[in-house]
Structures are given as structure tokens and as C-alpha cells.
Amino acid sequence: MPEVKVLTRHFGAPGVTGLEGYRRVGGYRGLEKALRVGPEAVAAEVKASGLRGRGGAAFPTATKWSFLPQGVFPRYLCVNADESEPGCFKDRVLLEEMPHQLIEGAMIAAFALQVSHAFIYIRGEYRRQRELLERAVREAYSAHLCGPSVLGGEWGCELIVHGGAGAYICGEETALLDSLEGRRGQPRLKPPFPAVKGLYGQPTVVNNVETLSNLPYIVVEGGAAYAALGTEGSPGSRLFCVSGHVQSPGTFEVAMGKTTFRELIELAGGVRPGHHFKAMQPGGGSMQILGPQHLDLALDFKAVSDAGSSLGAGALVVMDETTCLVDVSMRLVDFYRHESCGKCVPCREGTYFESELMHRLEAGLATEAELGTLPDVCRAMDGRCFCPLGDTATWFVMSAYRMFPEEFHSHCGAGACPVRSALGAAA
């Protein structure tokens, strides 16, 4: 059985969304232990766990922490709860099911990094989740799990929930910092990196909700135990969000590196009855398409990267044979056009060019010559933009075009979407 339970092991336990219920399942023992063993010991466990960031970039968490310059205070911790990647809803689940697990993880990190202010930046669309989180933070404050003296000790840390207002780009960590400072949420020029000059010009660490939610387990059970759940290259467990043409969409926690895409899809009940698998997009809206030949790949950073895609933010969108990949590409490109912050030319204008082109193609209006500009447009964007948003706006569409060229060409001059037309004829 590929499923493991770290983050999700207490999901659904009675009252676990509240402080009392969370305590009943052993909650905040990690924070207590962290305060006992000291910041260096916590950092050492995190290093031993091999934990890599769950926001999409998979950067080793301990390494990120180690970039903070010695002796420069104040420092800040930002919890990235701006989950907005198409296909991803795992942070939402963690916020809904166990907000205290996140708060505990955040306070463990805050202690390990000796920060005085931690901010949870939650996307504006998560109104309910924000209310749940704020209630949990109030509980944590009254139990002295955060605030000026955590658990009665010398160290204190304020925990502030900050709501976004609708901007995918704020999931990019420097854009998040600008947004939190009260600016337009646009990515910053690097260097300086946030670890050196981040929020309010001070050393800052930005960690994802899922990343931090693992810390209570890692501190209590030990980094090595966590790492052993997965493989050497892909340690630990991870939440995957399976959606699209599967029987039972949802989030599933599986061992990294040991589970295959096929097994993950099976956990979600398999492809819906009467249909068969055509393609899938792992990682979220930004990542490249994979085909039937990739189903037996393990959920392993390197294996998926070698196949030309990425595990990204832990999504998996499954598409059956009724799917028009031009249509899917168009939806994703529209998303990037809507979410481009407008800062750099190739992203601002390139996503517009792409989206207008894909609309014409999906409607069967584009010519072969117009389709011929798609690779050029994408080449002028990919790797040329200020931040990854514009780069990744080309990845799915180009990978789909390469994997299913006939499907794209069949749209040219067709006057309508040929995939839809065929489905209509069959039905």
C-alpha cells in the first residue's frame, strides 16, 4: 500500500481542528521538544529529514534556513499559504483539517530561526480557511503557544495572519514579500535574496504550508524516521492532489520515490469508468505533460525531471480520451495571462499573444502559419522572463504540442474544435 500517514494521520480525529482535540493526538509536543533541545538541534533534525520545500521548487528546507546571515536581527518567517497553482488544493486541506499542525510547525521554524514575527500569507479566496486559521491562532495565543513568551519561556514570537486579495503571483516568494509590505505583489530583482534582505529589508525565510506542517513529526519522531518514509533522493511523504478524470478526486499522502503515478491514480479510484487514460499534468498548471508511457514512473524528483516534467506543487491532473489538449492549453494560458503581474515584457505581452492565439486555434480559426508562431512566441518567453511565471506559461502548451502535434494541427482551419466535434458525433 503506497499510502503513508504523517500529515494526515490525525485527519478526522474528534475536535482535531481545535486546540484541545489537537492536543489529544499529541499536538504541540513537537514545539515543547523544540524549545527543550534548542534551535541548533531542531535545524539538525530538519537537515536529517531531507525535507524539501513543498511549494513547487523543492529546495532543501535546511539549506534555505542556513542562508540566514549570522547575528542579524530582526528576522522574519513567512508562511506561504497563497496556494494558487491550478490543480493544487493540499494546503487548503491542511488548513481545514489541522490548522494547529501548521501553527505548531510555523512556531517550531520560528524558534529554530529565532524570529520575532511570523506571518501567514493566505490567499484572499480562502475566506473560510482564513477564518478557521484565525480562530486557531487565537487559541494558540491564549495557550501561550505564540506571543511574547512562548510556553512561558524567554523566546516570544508574534503570529499574524495576512490575507491576500487575488493574485497568483504572490505565491512567488519575493512577490509575497512585496505584497506583505503593502505593495503591488510583484517579484523582486535578485540578489539580494530574501534570506539576506527580505521582508522589511531584513533576513527572511519563506516556507510553504505543507513544508512546515511536517515539522512537528520531524521534531518528535526524528529527521531520520521521516526521511526513511521515502527514498534517498526523495525523502519523506508528500500530499498529492489528484483531480480531473478520476473516479474520486482528492488529496493522498504517499511515500515519496516509492509510489508510481499509476498507484496514485488508483488511490483516486482510477480513470472514470468507460474511459481510458490519455495524458496527465503533474505538479500543477505550470508543469509539462506526461503520457501513458510515464504511468509507471515513481513520484521521484529525478525520475520525473528526467521525463521532462516536475512534481512541482504536488498536483496531478488526469485527462482521459475525451480531452482536447488545445482546450486544456488554452485554459492554462488564459490563467497565466490573467495572473501575469505585468512587470516584464515577455510575460505581459507574451501571455497575451499566446492566449489570443490559443483561442483562435481552439475555435478552429487559426492557420498553420499562426500555429507556426507558437514555438517562436514560447521561445521568446521561456527563460527570458523576470520570474518563473512567464517561463512556465509556455511549458504545458509546448510539451502538449510536442507530444500531440496532430491534435494541434487538426485544429487549423477546422472552423471548430475537432476533438469536441468528434465527441459530439460519437454521442
Binding site: S340, G342, V345, Y352, R384, C385
Partner: protein, 637 residues
């Protein structure tokens, strides 16, 4: 990747097979410039922090997988940069295709046509035509009136952010910001509020395209029709360097001519938009003289003879002290110097001034501090009520000193005792004191007290009038001779001369470029109606030209050559940007020839160059300065 660098060691980098050495901290863009390799930019600007948003300057750097922005990447030892590869060319073409997608392509009616970076780069690097089938561009507002000075065309804007960053970094006013996002992003003011800045004229100049334009220049000229002349802004004594762009002997605009030591490339609106007064066509066009009952046009030589005759008559009847000499601070150094020569050496009168109100005691100590040196002081003390009002561009230098250079800028009221500044100046070793000319004595006293407390301190005095500083240096004032030598017998100051004229003890007045503002002064009117002889050299029609017994057509600052000295003592050239509408000699020759007609030949040609040599002889600190250097008045006493 890069070798470890020793601090201060020059970095050797290769750009397209050219090698250059640059200082650590240099940008790839700087290195390219030094190597003579042109890299196109929109967002980058020498005076603004890099943002790397336009991507136009992406180049290949060995060892880096992606193209890198030259404007924001620091060089490292041994860096290999390539700007002319297929990859770079391909990207530039693609990026320009993007920029043109939503551009209105209205070049034929755009004021920037011919000097537009979007046009130029498209010519040089861009695609010939778009391959997009998009017919419905994203539309924005055109010709939005941001103020009576500035128009904004949001469709032409390529969102380089320069205007937004200018307001953030240079003036601190934040009038223009980015709004909306993605392809709908635009620049605008809050709720279309009118711009209030007194520095908004810089916006069209930093805009790389035709998005921000001057209302005054709208549909006026094409750049290839303009004749450009480097000169100095005439509106105050700060000495901002400008280009006078003229078309058909009319000034079309003043443009900035970056002098990092003075204006740092910024002009104030008061100066920039002051040129229409120089285009006025109601002018004195002929020499005239009072003959019998009325005044008539006469030949230049006759005007000279009549002027000399009148002056000799007055001197003969009433003595040299019955002749007064007045000019405005708009005269050049050469003109001012000859006026004082005419007064003291030729006529023998001590009554000479370049302004009406008396000045406190003058000394070079009031002027020791340079404008650019403000940035190097640990702290700047600004004395009195906003002295920078009389030299607006100083506001920007003080803002830069405070924000970018992180120096302390203290604003203190008059009468602040030096002792009370020691606390806020704690930890500072050097300090500059800035004051208006009326507070110059207090500024010097404060500076001396600070020096007494162990600080290195000096003063920058802001004088009123384009060349007031030159007039003071060169002794165009009653109490000091050229070079601040005290006059043995001080004469009367400007207003006293007028009052003496009205009272009858001054019988003859020589007015050189009189300030038109004086005409509102009753003392001026009274003086002019009483004097026996009134010799006037002026471009402008008015009370002085009407009352003159002998009138010479003068030249505006745009019509003559010479030098002027800015408030910090920088000697800069003004050049002939417009040919005058009459064939008569310039003011300087009138002065020289008048001396000759009075029996004292000048000894050199009455031209700017030879007269400057006389100045350099009389005032040694002026030697060798006319190329734009500050006159060196020696170390503080």
C-alpha cells in the same frame, strides 16, 4: 564560476571578443558601454536603480544557462559576455514583436517620432512585421492631460517604469504609479489628479517612447529639424546644463544636458519651460538716439558717438561720480567685467551694481562648498526657510543626499545656535551649510562655529540671478573690485544709485540688460525720468527702452556667447543658439567700443575669448575654468 576578487581590483571582462577592465560593482551594461558595445535598453537608466523589466538588454554570459539582463547583472572577474549571438538577436526580435502587439503605431502624429527608442530598436533589431492575427489590441486613453505641461498617452507606454521610479527615487513625490496588472497595466496618477511636481518636465525626457510628452512641444517640431546648442539654463544661478533646441530661430525646447556635478540630468520646470520669453518678437531692433524732440533710428556708430558724447558731457559738468552703472545678473562674465571696466577705468565712477538691494559683505568663504560635494558630507545643514526655492534643482540633490547617499540633512531655522546642532550631528566629521544669499553672513558664522567644534565645515550660498555669482566674483558691485579686493572708495549700491538719480546727483545712467522686473519699482521710474543721459543696452521694449537717450539693441542669453558663473563658482559657457533678427553688434562689443569712444581703448578684441583672458589676468582663480570648472579660491583662511 568567477575567480575570487581582491577588493578594489579591476575586473577584466570580455565582451564579444573585446576586453575591458571595469571597477568591481560595475554592471554588465557599464562594461559593454566601456567596450563600445551598444546594448539596447528601455527600463535601465543611468540615474535610476535597475529593475530589469523590459528584458531588452538580455545577453549571453558564459556559464549561465539563461540570458541575463545586462542592466542588472554585476560583472565578475573573467566574465565572458556575448551580445551578438543568434540567441540574443532572436530574443530581441521576439521581444520587440511583443512590445508592438499593443502599440498604436501612430508614429506619424507622435512627437517622439525620430527620437524614439521603440522606433529605433525596431529599425535596428526588430521584426519587419507582426505575425500575430490579433486585430483587437488592448486600448488605453490617449493624450491624457496630466497637467498644463505634460500629456500622457497610455497606449504608447511600454511600461518601462522609468517615470514611476523617477518619482520614487529622484523626487520622492510618487505622483505617477502603476495601476492594474498584466496586459492591462498602465501608469497614471491617483484618480487622474493633476501633476503638482515642479520637476515634471523631466518626465518626457526619461520616457523612452512617446508616452509622456511636453504640452508645450506638442506638434512643434521633428528632431531632425532642430539645431541643438549646449548652454546654461538662464532661470537661476544653479547652472543647470541645457541644450537649446531651436527651429527657424525660435527655441522649441530646453533639454537636459547631464552634468553630474551640477544638475545630475534634472531640470526644474521653472527653468525648462522659461524659454518662450526668449522667443518674444517684440524687441529693440535698432540703435536709436534722442535727436531734438523725438528719438530716431541711427547708425550704430552714431549711437556710439552720441552715447560717448553724453557721458563725457556729464563727467565734464558734474564729475565722474555723476555717472551710475547698472546691469542685471543676466549678463555674462565678459559683459559684467567690461561694464565694471567702463565704470571704474574708463569713466572713473565707483557707482556700479548688478542688483538693486545692497548685499552683506562679500567673501569667497560664502561659496566654498560645491553642489556635488553635498553628497560627500556626513551631514548637510539647510539654514532658513527652504533656500532651495531659489534654485529648485538643489531640492533633488538634497533628496538624493538623504536617501541614496544616506547622509543626514537637517533643516534648521535662522538663529539656531551651533551648539544645539552638535547633538544631531554626533558622529559626523564633515558638514555642509546651505543658505540663501540673504543669510550668507549667518551661514558663515554657523559654519565657523561648527569648525570650531572640530567639524570640517563649509558653505554653499544660493545667489539670485543667472550670473549673480560671476558679477560678485568680478567686482560688478560697489564695494569690491574683481576678485573680492575691497574697493578703496566704495560706490553706491543699485537702489542708492537710482535714488541719487531721482534726486539729481547722478546725472547719467548706463543700463546693461536691465531686469524688466525693475520697471515695477517706482524708484526706477523716478530715476529714469530725471537723468540727463540714459544709455541703455537691452533686448526688450519697456520703460528703459522708451526713456533711453541712446538705445542699443541687446541680445538675449540665447543669442550670445560667453561664460557665466553658477552659484557654486562653476564657470560655464553660454553659446549662440539663435541668430538675432538685426545686424547690430552684440552687447560686449557695444561696451568695448564705448570705452574706445570715451578715449580708453580696450586693448583686445571685444569678443568673449579675449575678454576672458583679461578676466583671468585680473582674477587668477578664473584661469583655465571656462570649460566648466569651479574657480578655486584657495583653502579657507
Amino acid at each position: 564560476m568567477a575567480a575570487v576578487e581582491a577588493p578594489g581590483e579591476l575586473l577584466r571582462v570580455t565582451i564579444d571578443d573585446r576586453q575591458v577592465e571595469v571597477a568591481p560593482g560595475s554592471l554588465v551594461w557599464d562594461a559593454c558601454e566601456k567596450a563600445g558595445v551598444y546594448v539596447p535598453v528601455y527600463c535601465a537608466h543611468k540615474k535610476l536603480e535597475p529593475v530589469a523589466v523590459c528584458r531588452m538588454c538580455l545577453v549571453e554570459i558564459e556559464g549561465m544557462p539563461k540570458l541575463q539582463p545586462a542592466c542588472a547583472t554585476r560583472v565578475s572577474q573573467g566574465m565572458q559576455i556575448r551580445t551578438a549571438t543568434d540567441q540574443v538577436r532572436d530574443f530581441r526580435r521576439g521581444n520587440l514583436e511583443f512590445l508592438l502587439l499593443n502599440h498604436p503605431l501612430d508614429c506619424p502624429v507622435c512627437d517622439r517620432g525620430g527620437e524614439c527608442d521603440l522606433q529605433d530598436f525596431t529599425q535596428r533589431y526588430g521584426p519587419g512585421r507582426t505575425r500575430s492575427a490579433i486585430t483587437d489590441k488592448v486600448h488605453f486613453d490617449k493624450a491624457v492631460r496630466l497637467s498644463d505641461r505634460i500629456l500622457l498617452d497610455q497606449e504608447r507606454c511600454i511600461l518601462c517604469w522609468r517615470c514611476v521610479r523617477y518619482y520614487e527615487e529622484v523626487t520622492g513625490e510618487r505622483e505617477i504609479v502603476l495601476q492594474e496588472r498584466g496586459v492591462h497595466t498602465l501608469v497614471d496618477t491617483f484618480e487622474h489628479r493633476e501633476l503638482q511636481s515642479e520637476f515634471q518636465g523631466n518626465l518626457p525626457e526619461i520616457c523612452p517612447v512617446g508616452a509622456l510628452t511636453h504640452a508645450q512641444y506638442r506638434f512643434r517640431a521633428r528632431p531632425w529639424d532642430l539645431r541643438r546648442t549646449a548652454s546654461v539654463c538662464p532661470k537661476c544661478s544653479y547652472g543647470c546644463n541645457i541644450f537649446i533646441d531651436a527651429r527657424e530661430e525660435q527655441i522649441a525646447r530646453f533639454a537636459s544636458n547631464d552634468n553630474p556635478d551640477v544638475d545630475d540630468s534634472w531640470l526644474c520646470d521653472r527653468g525648462r519651460y522659461s524659454f518662450p520669453e526668449l522667443n518674444r518678437t517684440e524687441r529693440v531692433l535698432n540703435p536709436e538716439a534722442r535727436l531734438g524732440g523725438g528719438r530716431q533710428p541711427v547708425a550704430h556708430s552714431e549711437a556710439l558717438a552720441r552715447a560717448a558724447g553724453a557721458l563725457l558731457r556729464v563727467r565734464g559738468d558734474h564729475g565722474a561720480g555723476a555717472v551710475g552703472f547698472l546691469c542685471s545678473p543676466q549678463v555674462t562674465n565678459e559683459e559684467g567685467f567690461l561694464l565694471q571696466w567702463l565704470a571704474r577705468q574708463v569713466v572713473g565712477s565707483p557707482h556700479l551694481d548688478h542688483r538693486l538691494e545692497p548685499l552683506p559683505e562679500l567673501s569667497p568663504e560664502q561659496f566654498r562648498l560645491g553642489i556635488a560635494e553635498l553628497e560627500e558630507r556626513d551631514a548637510v545643514v539647510v539654514l532658513g526657510d527652504a533656500p532651495e526655492r531659489s534654485a529648485p534643482v538643489l531640492t533633488l540633490r538634497l533628496f538624493k543626499t538623504e536617501t541614496k547617499r544616506r547622509r543626514r540633512v537637517l533643516r534648521v531655522p535662522l538663529g539656531t545656535p551651533a551648539a544645539s546642532l552638535l547633538e544631531p550631528l554626533q558622529g559626523c566629521r564633515s558638514v555642509g551649510v546651505v543658505a540663501h544669499q540673504e543669510q550668507r553672513s549667518e551661514a558663515v558664522a554657523l559654519s565657523r562655529s561648527l569648525a570650531g567644534a572640530g567639524l570640517s565645515s563649509s558653505v554653499l550660498t544660493l545667489v539670485e540671478g543667472m550670473n549673480a555669482r560671476g558679477c560678485q566674483d568680478l567686482g560688478v558691485s560697489p564695494a569690491v573690485l574683481p576678485g573680492y579686493q575691497p574697493a578703496a572708495e566704495p560706490g553706491m549700491h543699485g537702489r542708492a544709485i537710482l535714488e541719487a538719480a531721482a534726486a539729481g546727483s547722478i546725472k547719467a545712467l548706463v543700463l546693461l540688460s536691465p531686469d524688466p522686473e525693475w520697471e515695477r519699482d517706482p524708484a526706477f521710474e523716478a530715476a529714469l525720468s530725471e537723468v540727463e543721459a540714459l544709455i541703455v543696452v537691452t533686448p526688450w521694449l519697456g520703460l528703459a527702452s522708451r526713456q533711453a537717450t541712446v538705445l542699443f539693441p541687446g541680445r538675449t542669453v540665447a543669442e550670445k556667447a560667453g561664460t557665466v558663473t553658477s552659484t557654486e563658482g562653476r564657470v560655464q559657457r553660454v553659446r549662440t543658439a539663435l541668430q538675432p533678427r538685426f545686424p547690430f553688434p552684440p552687447d560686449l562689443r557695444v561696451l568695448g567700443e564705448l570705452g574706445g569712444a570715451l578715449g580708453t581703448p580696450l586693448g583686445v578684441q571685444p569678443l568673449a575669448g579675449p575678454v576672458f583672458s583679461l578676466i583671468a589676468e585680473a582674477v587668477p582663480p578664473y584661469r583655465g575654468t571656462q570649460g566648466g570648472l569651479r574657480a578655486d579660491w584657495g583653502a579657507p583662511a
